[in-house]
Amino acid sequence: MPRKRLFLLALLVLASLAATQKIAQRSLVNGFQQTAIAPVASPAFLHSEFVSHQLNIATHAASLIELNDGKLRAFWFAGSREGAQDVTLRSAIFDGKNWGAEQTIINREQTQQGVWRYVKKLGNPVAARRADGALVLYFVTVSLGGWAGSSISVITSRDEGVSWDTPRRLITSPFINISTLIKGTPFSYADGSFGLPVYHEFLGKFGELLRISQHGTVLDKQRLSSGKLGIQPVLLITDSEHATVLMRHTNAPPKRVIATQTQDGGKTWRAPTKLATANPDAALTGVSLPDGRMLAVLNNVAVGRHALSLMVSSDRGMSWRSVYQFEQESEVAVSAEKFAQRTAQLAMTSDANVTDGAPYAATAQRNKCPALCDFEFSYPYLIQTQRGDFHLVYTWNRGLIKHVQFNAAWLENQVLKAPQKDAP
């Protein structure tokens, strides 16, 4: 046998042995880990305020995480416009009463120097906590084209978000590693690995789950839908075996929330179905309650993002009932004058610290009034803290991030007050 052929065979045997060893070390999905909630009883309350303070800027895609001392840290992106090269990731801390000063977490140049690749723009940031206590911030980065050309980068903080280490790139797609974006709340599997609800937007539009090891290695990727059905999945865990995923509908009308479920701890997922709940191709969020019910916040309208609803489900997310409107504005676009008037009023009712609504209205106008102006309350992100309170952040007319907090007592009041069935 020629020496060259023997060498090739030996190389193949060596590669097979190395691969066998790696495959043997692979951990498989073995159910979900539920977040421990220890509710603290308190009188019913609902408060709101603005998280971001910078005006005359485009601001979007906020997320939240609870810090070890019970405070909250919010993340979002802001710049001259969405997708501009000057967009930075911003953050602020909520001490229970007020939001502190904004800080810049990372910009485009710092990201590209860390990942050793050209980076054109930054997008959605979403935080998770590792088993060793470190905060991990996953965020969208684009090197090529628009948002469909996104990939995910990650930074880690060991001091609750005060400082961050060098960014790393996650490789999640075989097509020049493009088109993986993040929006949904991360969750944990029973073995301590992370689940990241992500989505794909290049040619197809579909939801996916990434499983990431504690060391940051991508262990697995599962598809939740195919074609152009739905994106921005949000996973609501009932117990270690059962979970429901809700997705933003991106296919042809009628626009409805897309859902899929697992009954084996995430090993397999049912074919996605269209629910009766309206969704105008807009992001949604949700949490599971300890009693098995689920909460969701979404634009529960067929068209537009002018209304933001709190919804409850008692059947593991298959049907939803609206219990409160966080926002409810005109569904038709209005004149700049009317818009300015109304947004100035809204700014003052949204945040007791705002005494002059005009600059807030001007910021909203800057982002929402190409000709006529339409209201936008979008990209909600809801968490429940360990003491049982709920915190929601969302984009307010593309100019600011608004925070709404409420507790279980307030929620139960709304559930009792709301009609038992939604109007068709």
């Binding site: 065979l9 060596l14 690749r117 490789i171 075989p174 097509f175 991508v218 599962q222 195919s226």
Partner: protein, 200 residues
């Protein structure tokens, strides 16, 4: 800088250095001059400009190059030194890549609920099939297919790149496009050779 950044950037630097061979004037160079030129380009594209080397820009655009691509680039670089693969072995590899890409990419881009990319994270059945294909290729003396599969599998096992998915070591879209183009061109040339004498 992580080791995976070094390997990723070096892959792109090799590709950019190999581009030198496309310049017609270079073909008359002695192998010593050619070696110096390619080494100079390799190092030049790794030098940071505004904090990022030129290889970082191409890496940002297309991601890390698959090991199979690097095998073909390596062959292109070694050709002036007299190390060549047979045309048959090269064609077999390109046909293999084009066929795999034709099935693989549409499915990964969402045409079906099943995503074959998932197999590359360490699915034992998938790697058994890959090994069988490699053994069959070895039996049929398709040496470049064997070399590419073996080196890609080894590189995946050692974690040479940032990706933990073996597909990223086996194939990339640039390679798939090149393979599809080369196979179509070869098919067209073959058809013309057969058809033209008949036309005369």
């Amino acid at each position: 800088m992580m080791l995976t950044d070094v390997t990723g950037l070096c892959g792109h630097a090799s590709a950019l250095a190999a581009c030198v061979l496309l310049v017609p004037a270079v073909r008359s160079f002695t192998w010593q001059r050619l070696s110096w030129l390619m080494a100079a380009v390799f190092l030049l594209v790794l030098l940071p400009l505004n904090g990022l080397p030129l290889a970082g820009y191409t890496r940002g655009m297309v991601g890390d190059l698959s090991i199979t691509t690097l095998v073909l680039i390596g062959l292109a670089i070694l050709r002036p030194y007299g190390i060549v693969a047979t045309e048959k072995s090269r064609t077999q590899l390109l046909i293999f890549i084009a066929v795999v890409a034709l099935i693989f990419y549409p499915m990964t881009l969402g045409i079906s609920l099943y995503d074959p990319y998932r197999l590359g994270y360490g699915e034992a059945g998938f790697f058994s099939v890959v090994l069988l294909i490699a053994l069959l290729a070895w039996w049929r003396q398709s040496n470049l297919i064997v070399l590419s599969i073996a080196l890609a599998t080894l590189a995946w096992s050692l974690g040479v790149y940032e990706s933990n998915n073996a597909w990223d070591y086996f194939i990339d879209p640039l390679l798939a496009s090149y393979a599809a183009f080369a196979v179509l061109r070869k098919g067209w040339q073959g058809w013309r050779t057969k058809a033209l004498p008949a036309a005369r």
